[in-house]
């Protein structure tokens, strides 16, 4: 490995980047735009769940229930129907997520001390949302009925709380007290954006020389495969790190997602992760025949795994075994753990070292594979 030759390649690649301001602007702006779009768009928190009410009772109590529900930010009343069949039509058209049916004589039954069952028609076509809505609704109804009991007790002059469950949960949520999904999604997005962008950045670099004919003269020089690949990687590593800084800044300024732990450690891990991503691009570039093919291959190799099986959106522990295995051999999975750990829990090297070690291993492996697949021969 000669420093002089390595620097010559890196410097040349840097001039290519500088002379192509449009691509440079894309490389620097795309991560910000993606983060803004996806950060605003992807939200696992459910609020404003639309519901319809079918009130067969028409009493003061049923009106009170209606007001209680529609005055929280969880639910939004989108329709009042006269019978349950009408409500089902609204469900079918997607105008509401559930229909709450208040049976006739509810108030009278309550006054007489008889238990009342409310009926809920739930749209189960989106099972995830439906089960969350059910849990929210059950909680709200439970609060409503305990309020009713307390109110009734007061009116009767009783001082004791009527219902005290023998066991309650006193919960304290750590790391993300408000349970905002954004706190969890933004670090994940940064990881996903970096791996895709990193692979795309370098995907054209080797195959372009082949397409333009400069490869032959380069290959006839004594420069080594490792010097060419490493030299091409260095300038893009600088760009990639700029992207890391801008996305972290956007995350903080726009989404109020702050790094709880050491930013330096996060950046150090990002360097290793970027080497993996850029190395993947180089590997693809080394074995592809055209620039377009290389770019598509780079996107396919990074986009789907990092979105679907890295744990970005779906928990890895619920995946079938073979997906869990694959998930563990993609760098994004490991950097995701590091990024979320440092971002949310503020953990240090003592906790993330296994992931950092795995990332380092991947980086060496990917670069080694690229060097071994890189041939200075033409056929």
């Amino acid at each position: 490995m000669s420093r002089r030759r390595l620097l010559a390649i890196a410097r040349k690649e840097w001039v290519h980047i500088r002379r192509d301001p449009r691509s440079l602007a894309v490389a620097l702006m795309v991560p910000i735009v993606l983060l803004l779009l996806m950060g605003a768009g992807i939200n696992f928190d459910l609020t404003d769940l639309p519901f319809a009410l079918c009130d067969y009772d028409g009493s003061a109590t049923s009106r009170l229930l209606r007001d209680k529900l529609s005055h929280t930010e969880l639910f939004r009343l989108t329709g009042v129907v006269r019978h349950a069949g009408e409500g089902e039509l609204l469900l079918r058209e997607g105008l509401c997520l559930f229909v709450l049916v208040v049976p006739p004589g509810m108030e009278a039954d309550l006054a007489a001390g008889r238990p009342v069952a409310l009926q809920v028609l739930l749209d189960g076509s989106d099972s995830n949302t439906a089960s969350i809505a059910r849990a929210y609704l059950e909680g709200a109804i439970a609060r409503f009925s305990s309020d009713l009991l307390t109110g009734a007790g007061k009116r009767l002059g009783l001082r004791t709380t009527v219902v005290v469950p023998p066991i309650t949960v006193a919960r304290k949520v750590l790391y993300n007290p408000a349970l905002e999904s954004r706190q969890f999604i933004v670090p994940g997005l940064i990881v996903t954006i970096l791996v895709i962008l990193g692979a795309i950045l370098t995907s054209g670099t080797v195959v372009r020389e082949r397409e333009r004919g400069t490869f032959e003269t380069l290959a006839a020089s004594p420069v080594l495969a490792g010097e060419i690949l490493l030299g091409k990687l260095i300038p893009y590593l600088v760009i990639g790190m700029l992207d890391v800084l801008t996305t972290i800044t956007v995350g903080a300024v726009v989404f109020h997602v702050y790094v709880a732990g050491s930013v330096e450690l996060l950046l150090a891990c990002a360097v290793v992760f970027l080497v993996c991503a850029l190395g993947l691009g180089l590997l693809v570039s080394t074995i592809s025949r055209t620039q377009q093919l290389a770019m598509v291959a780079a996107i396919v190799a990074t986009l789907l795994p990092s979105l679907l099986i890295s744990g970005f959106a779906f928990p890895i522990r619920n995946m079938p075994l073979f997906l869990r295995v694959i998930s563990n051999i993609i760098p994004a999975t490991h950097f995701l753990i590091v990024a979320r750990g440092i971002y949310l829990k503020g953990v240090g090297l003592g906790v993330v070292w296994p992931q950092l070690a795995a990332l380092t291993g991947f980086a060496v492996l990917i670069l080694g594979l690229s060097v071994s697949r890189f041939s200075k021969r033409l056929v």
């Binding site: 000669s2 002089r4 030759r5 620097l7 010559a8 390649i9 410097r11 040349k12 001039v15 290519h16 002379r19 192509d20 333009r212 004919g213 400069t214 032959e216 003269t217 380069l218 290959a219 006839a220 020089s221 004594p222 420069v223 080594l224 200075k376 021969r377 033409l378 056929v379």
Partner: protein, 314 residues
């Protein structure tokens, strides 16, 4: 003869079922300007690529300065300067940046690079162009720049693959003057061409056809290989005359040469001129001139390759 600078022995290169180079052997002495002459697709570029270690030979061996190309390609590459037929420069880099890049990949140290690049810029008259992007240069300047890049590390052996295609005759002449100077300094040059006046500048030529060696020698040796006697015939109408002459016994070859015909007559014919005039005796032919001419390299080329000089000027 000193240790040869380039040795090619029994070289075969096959691509699938196609044989591009077929048992080719030659040696080049240090300081020699060695011309590689042959029609397109005859295996010239393939041979050069094998010598640069860009292609592995199917059979046979190749040595540069006594080093096996197949075994130690990187060592050989440090000893050679290569100008490929393809565009070897980076269009979005300036002339100066291209030179810095190639200086870098050949490991030329900074101080040496400064001296060498200054000397080459001066010698190749690139001073005006240093800040220009390579993509904006004319073909002639590009070729000079590519040569400068190939010479930065002072290689003892130069491989030039059609370096002057698309370059005007004046620039071509200056190019060969430079090769002459390098030759005096001991630089060995292997140059491929299918331009005859370029071939005249070479010390020795190898003529290859369909991957095989057809002839090897000095330009004069090659001309002497043209069999029989060569006559220049001016006759009207020339096309019909060519047909008649081709069918005449004792006439080996007829080719169009400008407006005249060049007629090769077999050596055993006692009176070549008489034979031609006799063959064109019919009244529809007006014979203006029948004179003997000295064979040129082009004649040698045509007769040695069986008249197939395709795309001589591409």
């Amino acid at each position: 003869m000193a240790e040869p600078a380039v040795v090619v022995r029994g070289l075969v290169k096959r691509f699938g079922s196609f044989t591009a180079v077929d048992h080719l052997s030659f040696e080049i002495a240090p300081g020699e300007i060695f011309g590689f002459l042959g029609p397109n697709g005859s295996g010239k570029s393939t041979t050069i690529r094998v010598l640069c270690g860009l292609l592995l030979p199917s059979e046979g061996e190749a040595f540069v300065n006594g080093i096996s190309v197949a075994e130690r390609p990187e060592t050989v590459r440090a000893h050679i300067g290569y100008m490929s037929q393809l565009f070897s420069l980076y269009g979005d880099l300036t002339v100066q940046e291209n030179m810095e890049f190639y200086g870098g990949v050949y490991g030329v140290v900074r101080e040496r690079f400064r001296q060498r690049s200054a000397a080459l810029v001066e010698r190749l008259d690139l001073g005006q162009e240093c800040g220009r992007l390579a993509a904006t240069l004319s073909t002639g300047i590009r070729q000079r720049l590519a040569l400068a890049c190939a010479l930065l590390h002072e290689p003892p052996v130069l491989f030039l693959d059609e370096p002057t295609s698309g370059v005007d005759p004046v620039a071509r002449r200056r190019f060969f003057e430079l090769l002459g100077e390098l030759s005096v300094q001991g630089v060995t040059t292997l140059i491929t061409t299918h331009v005859m006046d370029e071939a005249e500048h070479c010390h020795r030529l190898i003529l290859i056809h369909e991957g095989r060696r057809v002839a090897l020698g000095r330009p004069d040796d090659l001309k002497a290989m043209v069999p029989g006697k060569l006559l220049q015939v001016r006759v009207e109408p020339s096309m019909q005359a060519a047909d008649v002459l081709s069918a005449t016994e004792g006439i080996v070859e007829v080719s169009l040469f400008g407006t005249a015909l060049h007629v090769a007559v077999a050596a055993q014919v006692a009176s070549p001129e008489g034979l031609v005039r006799e063959a064109l005796g019919a009244p529809e032919f007006t014979v203006e001139e029948v004179v003997p001419v000295r064979p040129t390299l082009e004649h040698a080329f045509l007769s040695l390759t069986g008249g197939r000089l395709e795309g001589a000027d591409e």
